[in-house]
């Protein structure tokens, strides 16, 4: 169906076209190219442009890549779970119990996020280290005699650091969803004899679901691609797939394989995200 564009159509499209063209040029074109690139092969400096699935074969069958991808997914899902579970009470508190200064609370939550990501991650290394802040405080108090070593350079440290870094991204969408809940529904539930817990489970939680799904996806998708946190606090057991992608584009000098790894992990992430979205949609959105 082709219809003539109205004057308003044309004005709107003209106005948005610079931004659209920039995004097409700098995002769509590179993404298409990187997909093509992943079917090529690189031999030191020469790129062989014959199409082949060798890179994907390597990415999906070599144990090291399987380990890294499954570990990245495990860590990211754990980070998402921890972040969303700890963020929910905060969002709930600000939405339901802070009366006057909601904007100030939200502002205070976003401030640490705007400080250097690199330095925040590094400071967690300082906090969790052998001579770190946590160990010295615990020793001073007398709770432990020797510094704890299991808290840095492993997957747990990565989970903690990422949960910290992504907290505002989980709090804000949940807060927005909670704010939208019609408070009279809650009163109605109470009048009809629902206790606090039942009311929460049957009204607050389902209506907050869109926010929870948004928070889950906003945290899950980018954390799979993080390579600073694993590199600084992850040790060798905490390395993730993004570290390997970076190595392929850097030292290993095998960019096509790096591209294949990036696309493979994005593909899996997209599938899982779709799953989360569908499951979340089934459980939320309406009052039962």
């Amino acid at each position: 169906m082709i219809r003539r564009l109205t004057k308003e159509d044309r004005q709107g499209l003209t106005l948005i076209s610079p931004t659209l063209f920039y995004t097409l040029l700098m995002l769509a074109a590179p993404l298409v190219l990187v997909v093509t690139f992943s079917f090529w092969t690189q031999n030191y400096l020469d790129i062989d442009k014959t199409l082949t699935i060798a890179n994907y074969h390597e990415a999906w069958t070599k144990p090291i890549y399987q380990v890294l991808i499954s570990r990245s997914l495990r860590i990211s899902l754990l980070v998402t779970l921890v972040t969303v579970l700890t963020a929910f009470p905060i969002a709930y508190y600000i939405s339901f119990h802070v009366k006057q200064r909601k904007a100030l609370w939200l502002f205070l939550i976003t401030v640490p996020f705007w400080t250097s990501y690199l330095l925040r991650v590094f400071l967690w290394k300082v906090i969790l280290g052998f001579n770190g802040v946590l160990n010295s405080v615990l020793m001073q108090v007398g709770l432990i005699d020797e510094p704890l070593t299991f808290i840095l350079y492993n997957a747990n440290a990565v989970v903690l650091t990422l949960a910290h870094a992504w907290a505002p991204f989980a709090i804000l969408p949940i807060f927005v969803a909670l704010e939208k809940i019609d408070r009279s529904l809650l009163e109605a539930a109470e009048d009809l004899g629902d206790g606090a817990f039942r009311r929460f489970r049957r009204i607050t939680l389902p209506l907050a679901m869109p926010g929870i799904i948004a928070a889950t996806l906003i945290v899950f998708i980018p954390t799979v691609g993080d390579f600073i946190t694993p590199k600084l606090v992850g040790g060798t057991d905490g390395l993730m797939i993004a570290n390997m992608i970076q190595i392929q584009f850097g030292k290993a000098n095998n960019a096509p394989l790096g591209a294949a790894l990036a696309i493979s992990s994005m593909f899996i992430v997209a599938l899982i995200s779709l799953g989360i979205y569908l499951i979340g949609n089934r459980f939320g959105g309406k009052v039962k």
């Binding site: 159509d9 931004t19 330095l119 691609g225």
Partner: protein
């Protein structure tokens, strides 16, 4: 009575939780100035004394000055370009209806949810294939891409709150299109524009992953900091540098927030109800 008491207790526990969560959020940020002013070469407790010598080191580090200059160029260019792109899209989104509107806007907002490493790698592949050499301009190109969605988010509320009848009144009174834009539209959305400039500046100043992949021989500040983290002796001065950046970011944010609220007030909306800039 018992139920009332129980719900009061629950609120109290929730408050305790909220305050301790805030402490957790601020824990690393609080440590930064502590170590920056600490008179010891190792970044660890116990603190040994007050000094400003780590800040003095910064004034004499030539490589750092270059990185600051590069970051300033990148962040200012990014702020201006992404705010222009953001303003076009936000205005189009708020004012007009056109085919594929939500699809187009969704596509432009996509960099918000893509892992940065994917964006960085894709841009790198394209630039290398095109035979372009990496420079500050390639970093700017990447930063504009990821900052534009933030700008749109901020400016959308500014343009949505704009009362269209004011523009129509201006046309009726004989102003040209450009005159109306300059004398009516722009002043009304100006606080939003400034807020967008400040936020995108801050994001670009702090962005590491894209800068790391797309930077040439001229490094930006975060890439410089990354290179310094390997040397234990450099850490105290990195902490000092971080403290300066932290102060700068907070000042910029407060300024941005102030402008955003002014914009909301000017358009007669409740500042708190208009929401934050995220």
């Amino acid at each position: 009575m018992v139920a009332r008491l129980r719900s009061l207790m629950a609120v109290k526990w929730l408050t305790v939780y909220a305050v301790s969560y805030m402490l957790f959020l601020y824990l690393p940020v609080i440590l930064l100035p502590l170590f920056a002013f600490n008179d010891a070469t190792v970044v660890a407790f116990p603190l040994s004394g007050f000094t400003t010598k780590w800040f003095d080191v910064l004034w004499t580090t030539e490589a750092l000055h270059g990185a600051v200059r590069n970051s300033a160029i990148v962040a200012i260019s990014t702020a201006v370009l992404s705010t222009i792109f953001g303003a076009c899209a936000a205005r189009a989104g708020a004012r007009y209806r056109f085919p594929f509107k939500s699809g187009i806007i969704g596509f432009i907002m996509l960099p918000l949810v893509l892992p940065e490493i994917i964006v960085a790698v894709a841009l790198l592949v394209m630039l290398v294939q095109l035979g372009m050499s990496l420079s500050l301009w390639t970093v700017i190109a990447g930063h504009v891409l990821i900052c534009t969605p933030f700008s749109i988010a901020i400016l959308s509320s500014a343009f949505a709150g704009l009362d269209q009848s004011l523009e129509e009144a201006s046309f009726d009174l004989g102003e040209s299109k450009w005159g109306t834009f300059r004398r009516v539209t722009l002043p009304l959305v100006m606080p939003g524009v400034i807020s967008s400039l400040l936020i995108t500046f801050t994001i670009s100043l702090d962005e590491f992953i894209i800068a790391f992949f797309l930077t040439g021989t001229d490094v930006t500040l975060p890439v410089y900091i990354w290179s310094q983290l390997r040397f234990p002796t450099k850490l105290p001065s990195v902490m000092a540098l971080g403290t300066i950046l932290l102060t700068l970011s907070i000042l910029l944010l407060i300024l941005a927030e102030w402008f955003r609220r002014r914009s909301a007030r000017r358009q007669g909306r409740d500042a708190a109800a208009a929401g934050g800039f995220v």
